[in-house]
Symmetry: C2
Subunit: 492 residues, 2 copies
């Protein structure tokens, strides 16, 4: 790719280039309002050789932009905390919100090249990463993002010359990174690695753009052309619906909710004894996954009043409080709504060795958001595959992913609602909305059935917790978690 | 303090203690709803000797709590990014939101002790830190927080015994930190340091509670008593207004807005030449503060249509985009509203060597929030001092703080509003709200005059930018920034 890219040279005098730059910059300024109006987030990744002029280019691009509508983020090698999250975590953190620009100065290309050059990644993991990157970029695009990837290319001799010059002057010496010198020295090897990664992440939906960066003015004009064209196109295409993908994930056969028996019995005595045993066991396992640095993600969904809260409490009762977090999920706040629907869940992922429990989850997209019309039909239909991909990424990272549907029947819900209504200290738990949702039971049941059928993958399966008897349900959940951990680390 | 604390031993049989623990835990469960209802955030800091049982205690406290209403945060030594922010930054990040508990496992006490023991802090900085901590805790309290500080005390012999035991067993060995061993070895010296810091941060509003942690059941009961009592008290006192402090900050004399002349002239030609010169200079200075790791915070306030946006753009036009960020501040989102009013600004502080520009700021409290009744009278009256303290902390940290009031007269505003209304590509800049605010010009002017008079401190002064002529205003702002930087680092 770096060899046979198309060089677009503007054959015209300097003044004309200058005038064109000015014109294009003005266009970009006008486009700010267009992307704001159409709620398009624009994510520009600027990669390239050391000293190719990434910083200068970004500086020139933003010159006339309103500082309220963009930010520039310079990525460094991941810190200790970051390296304990999935690879894409910190990139997901930086994605722009609707109507804004983010310029990323170096990113997943640089990081991956460095990983390869320093032998920190093996062949299998590398292929997985390519796949994840393609999914990441496609999901962004499908969720309305305009993603533009640039690679600033300069020949070896030019790079050497620039580095020498920088090193030579007192006030620029500090800017020459170890990494850049190494790059220049092992240029051939780097070229091969760059090329492979560029090619493996060059897709129809988010292609790489190789920019000839020897002449800075030429490069700037090239990029301005590219940016303004792509933004115009994105605005035009804003109504084109993305394709709804159904990728082949190995799905587990799930029963329909109506077929799930709910007549299990368990006495308080039986429950108390069993709970104590299981909590003791889980405690030891928690210790073990902490030391082995295995992340665990537990997702709770279920009917209102199914007993999710009490169930979670019994689970966490066994856990060292330094090693878990419970995330209650409500409707998204404005800054969350302005981003990819999975962003707020990425943001809350645990670091390795820790447990994150989600009280309601990313499945809101295909339940409440679907049924209440909070997102478009295309959005929720696309979400099944997006979620499967998300969970695949989590388990590829090494996480254990467990998903619970806490199930009760309609009569049990009514009984519990009524009890809540009549018990002063429980009244806070019941709202008008609960009653309204109850009226839509059948529609929800259909949506849940579809969700279970389409997202119960081998790597991240759904478990239906039978919760007419809460004792039974709690034991069932904790046993499921124990079994999943033991499958990974053996029993204690 | 560690010597003569009051030991509260419960002289009763184990079963009775057990029964009391159960009772108090149930009370704590009921109190969850009380703190939710009264929107009280509860911040529990658990400190103590290594192996005193901090983790176990927290585990026992939360046992019956609803996991949606609390989180446990374990603080470690600050990472690279964190160490480039003000000391309190990462603690401010962890404060609970209204109606929730945060249990902090080790915190500012441990960090400060370690700083002293490792000679990372000198006497002057230490005294400053004590002052900051007292301010931090008082501000939290005044903003409705219940802050409870615990220190788990065990005698030297007990600590040694516990560490030996932990070290001896295969599955607990890994839990013994280097730090704990050192503590046991140099116990006397540590005791002295702990004692000094405990005493220096022991205040009437947020006192330390020394807990005898030799017997874990006794300790648990003590803490449960303490917590439940304090929560009851906090609920009772919820209507008691905090005192409005007027601390002596060296204030600069500011003119009334009505006295500020606005008849400056500057031609476009003059402006263009001057701007180029100044931007060149500022660019060099930016480089210098980046290398010297000096953080800069620039706050923009001003009348609607005064030209803040354009002014900021000319300033940032000179800056390396990798070294600054512009934060447009709108009304707070729910998760921001649920915390200390300065929280969202802390969160956006730059790291050292970087520039943060705030387009509208923490002064909203004493302007729009005051005039629109978005906070109580006590809240905005307290805010002058809280803001002075906040800015003092920033400059103590080493930041350059510059605050601009971008000023125009009423006629100029009308002319600009009208122009915006009549120019299609500017219409997005003008809203109904702008017209409504304009009607309250006099009330705002009074509030701004009071704000300028009470918060223009020597360390963080206000500058009134005369913006009837936008060219003049931009040059004035950029000159002010240059002067402030040059005062610190010399000219370039």
């Amino acid at each position: 790719m770096l060899k046979n890219y198309e060089i677009r040279k503007y054959q015209m005098p300097q003044e004309e280039i200058q005038a064109l730059v000015k014109e294009k910059r003005q266009e970009l300024v006008r486009q700010q309002m267009m992307i704001k109006e159409h709620k398009i987030p624009v994510f520009v990744l600027v990669e390239g050789w050391g000293s190719a002029g990434k910083g200068t280019l970004i500086g020139n691009l933003i010159k006339e932009l309103d500082p309220r509508f963009f930010s520039v983020i310079t990525m460094k090698a991941p810190g200790e905390e970051e390296s304990r999250k999935p690879f894409l975590w910190r990139y997901m953190e930086t994605i722009p919100e609707a109507g804004k620009f983010v310029f990323l100065n170096s990113g997943w290309l640089t990081e991956t090249v460095d990983d390869v050059m320093n032998d920190r990644i093996d062949e299998e993991a590398l292929e997985k990463r390519f796949k994840q990157l393609r999914i990441f970029e496609r999901q962004l695009k499908d969720n309305g993002y305009l993603v533009i990837k640039l690679f600033l290319q300069i020949p070896p001799a030019e790079q050497k010359k620039r580095l020498e010059k920088l090193k030579g002057a007192k006030d620029t010496k500090w800017r020459v990174a170890e990494r850049d010198l190494l790059q220049a020295k092992k240029r051939k090897k780097y070229e091969k690695v760059y090329d492979r990664i560029l090619e493996s992440t060059n897709t129809g939906y988010v292609p790489w753009n190789i920019v000839d960066a020897v002449d800075k003015k030429q490069a700037l004009l090239q990029v301005l052309h590219l940016l303004t064209n792509q933004i115009n196109q994105a605005v035009e295409n804003v109504r084109i619906l993305p394709e709804i993908l159904h990728k082949d994930y190995p799905l587990l056969k799930m029963p329909l909710l109506a077929q799930v028996p709910l007549d299990q019995e368990m006495t308080k005595e039986e429950y108390t004894i069993r709970l104590k045993e299981l909590q003791k066991k889980l405690k030891k396992l928690h210790n073990k996954i902490y030391r082995k640095r295995i992340p665990i993600i537990i997702a709770y969904e279920g009917w209102d009043a199914a007993g999710k809260g009490g169930n979670i409490k019994r689970l966490t009762g066994a856990l060292d409080p330094r090693g878990f977090e419970v995330h209650p999920i409500a409707s998204p706040e404005p800054h969350e709504k302005a981003r990819h629907h999975l962003w707020r869940f990425y943001h809350r992922l645990p670091k390795d060795g820790h447990i994150a429990i989600f009280d309601r989850t990313w499945y809101g997209r295909v339940m409440v958001e679907r049924l209440e019309g909070f997102c478009s039909e295309n959005d929720w239909k696309r979400a099944y595959n997006e979620i499967n991909e998300f969970e695949q990424e989590l388990t590829d990272w090494g996480a254990i992913v467990i998903k619970f549907w806490v199930h009760i029947d309609k009569d049990t819900q009514l009984a519990r609602f009524t009890e809540r209504q009549n018990t002063p200290e429980k009244q806070w738990k019941i709202t008008e909305e609960d009653w309204r949702n109850r009226e839509k039971w059948d529609a929800y049941e259909e949506a849940v059935n579809e969700m279970l059928a389409r997202t119960s993958t081998e790597n991240a399966p759904w478990f239906i917790i039978q919760s007419n008897n809460k004792y039974y349900a709690r034991i069932q959940a904790i046993e499921t978690v124990i079994a999943a951990i033991e499958e990974r680390v053996g029993s204690v």
